[in-house]
Symmetry: C2
Subunit: 340 residues, 2 copies
């Protein structure tokens, strides 16, 4: 049977939530990844060093409870109008590696987000000084949904120019324009790609019956956009690496009338990626995409461990805890090798 | 109090369904309209004269049961690969005024639709000979959702050219390209506009939380497309008239995991249109749009009755029977004058 061995990956963008949901979803990521960048849009959000430490403690307690060893959560804080510039240093000392910026109202738990990018220039300055990475949900709220990411790119370019030593990640890019913008900018600017945006177009959401389980922000775009994302993922360009944006919502919250945005990819992350790269004849590009480029951009050592996968059909479960995983009920051509 | 009197309208595209749903939804249309063109995508569909007669009987029985007098259903049949050319004459004699063509699989109950438009040229020929109107759901299945209507326009142009005496209606246009195509074609080609497509863009479906209650086929498009639809509705050009495509689905079928396509506008039809035309300063264009252009295109006499509306806030109910109406919970500036 065909097998694949790759360096243990990092997921550079994941939502673990809190409480019972955290305990339910974190193990899927922790069993596949050595590290994951944990988003701070909890309720309340992670704004201070003490909140960051408490959240990391909660994650580590959940790891213990689930008998998970050797997983490292990479901690983040929210870059918001409420962010205290003096807190940046303490956040760094507490172990933060990045701050996440949400424009106001752009996605789940972002009502406290940024409206005026210039108003928090001192925060970016402090982050640049501390060597912290700025992760951005790059959409302009209020703009027509298909144009929101494109509309943000001028701000990205301005930030890149005004803070030439600040590392910035345009998170979960969904458009060809975003890919082109990232390519055009200096090495300080990178871009995460999700699993689901490599699979989906807007048609998967609205093209047949309405499907809430593939609805996310930014929404999946045109076939030509997905093509550009695939090209970027397969390109071997270190600016593009995995950040799954795995975002669990309970079935009740995903299905109507709630219609929450987010796709829960953690349970299928590696099999879905391997299947996709394999089908495109790009398996040779996968390891760098999931295990090298992200770590290098974050200035982290590459993981030592290796994982093995076998080319053997695996049907994705219909439900994982309270959440429907991406590709539920579908059959993938690869799975993790059973451990004895 | 400001009032408005207008000639009793016709809804040139409505879905009444069958059985209990018919009894629940038909009265909303029948109380506002003198006539409505009833779509034939029932289960099973209306293909023959006897099926058409039976469906009309069912509608008329429902009218009687609901104490509705003076409402005339304009009957249609499905133009499908299964359509018998010899049946066209009998359909006409049974009272059909139009045939409705669905491309295969393009919307609710269209699995039996047309794949090869040329294969049923004898049917169009027979319809042209009988003076029947061809109503088309103008989308090409399989094409990316936002491009489906545009992709159909070459077929529309071909049909217009090959059957110069056949009256064709491009139903529920959603794009500027469709409006432009209809404008460019001879007088035999007209276009219905729905209430909801004059209100919605894709953002209403996917721009915030996912909203299944405004999800329909064809899906609402870009702001520039809606602008073109509004211009067409306000233009006074007789090629553009009301066909609401009011399409009820139970809450269970609209909400997930079903996600059925269709917006139920019948309960709010006239107040929603008056409010919209009023807000755009185009009340003077409303009567022709709802009560004249459609009747003229169908060769029907104008309705004699008049309806009065008052400029007084009206909050749309949250539910009508088992179906959520369009704009539920919203407040409109106009309502029908109470009858004593």
């Amino acid at each position: 049977m065909e097998t694949l061995e790759i360096r243990r990956p990092d997921d550079m963008h994941v939502h673990f939530r809190q409480g019972k949901m955290l305990e339910s979803v974190m193990p899927y990521t922790a069993r596949q990844c050595a590290r994951a960048l944990v988003m701070p849009n909890t309720t309340p959000p992670i704004l201070t060093a003490s909140e960051l430490i408490a959240y990391r403690d909660e994650i580590q307690s959940a790891c213990k409870k689930e008998n998970i060893a050797g997983f490292e959560p990479l901690m983040t804080f929210k870059v918001a109008p409420a962010t205290d510039v003096d807190e940046i240093k303490r956040l760094k000392e507490a172990g933060a590696v990045a701050g996440k910026l949400y424009p106001e109202g752009v996605t789940t738990n972002s009502a406290d987000g940024v409206r005026d990018f210039k108003a928090i220039y001192p925060v970016y300055q402090a982050m640049q000084d501390e060597g912290l990475i700025l992760c951005i949900h790059g959409e302009v709220p209020g703009v027509f949904s298909l144009d929101r990411e494109r509309a943000f790119l001028s701000t990205l370019k301005e930030l890149a120019s005004d803070f030439p030593r600040l590392k910035i990640i345009l998170e979960h890019a969904t458009t060809k324009d975003a890919v082109d913008a990232v390519l055009s900018l200096p090495e300080t600017i990178a871009c995460t790609l999700t699993v689901h945006h490599l699979y989906l177009t807007l048609d998967d959401v609205i093209g047949g019956m309405l499907d809430p389980h593939v609805f996310c922000k930014p929404v999946a775009k045109l076939p030509s956009d997905r093509e550009a994302l695939l090209e970027a993922a397969f390109s071997g360009n270190p600016k593009f690496f995995l950040g799954s944006d795995s975002a669990p919502h309970t079935v009740d919250n995903k299905e109507c009338p709630c219609g929450a945005a987010g796709v829960y990819t953690a349970p299928v992350m590696m099999p879905a990626l391997i299947d996709l790269f394999d089908k495109h004849g790009k398996l040779n590009r996968l390891e760098a995409f999931v295990s090298e480029f992200g770590a290098r951009f974050y200035g982290l050592p590459l993981n030592e461990g290796k994982d093995r996968f076998v080319k053997k059909d695996w049907t994705v479960p219909d439900i994982c805890g309270e959440v429907k995983p991406f590709l539920y009920g579908k059959t993938l051509g690869w799975q993790a090798e059973a451990k004895n």
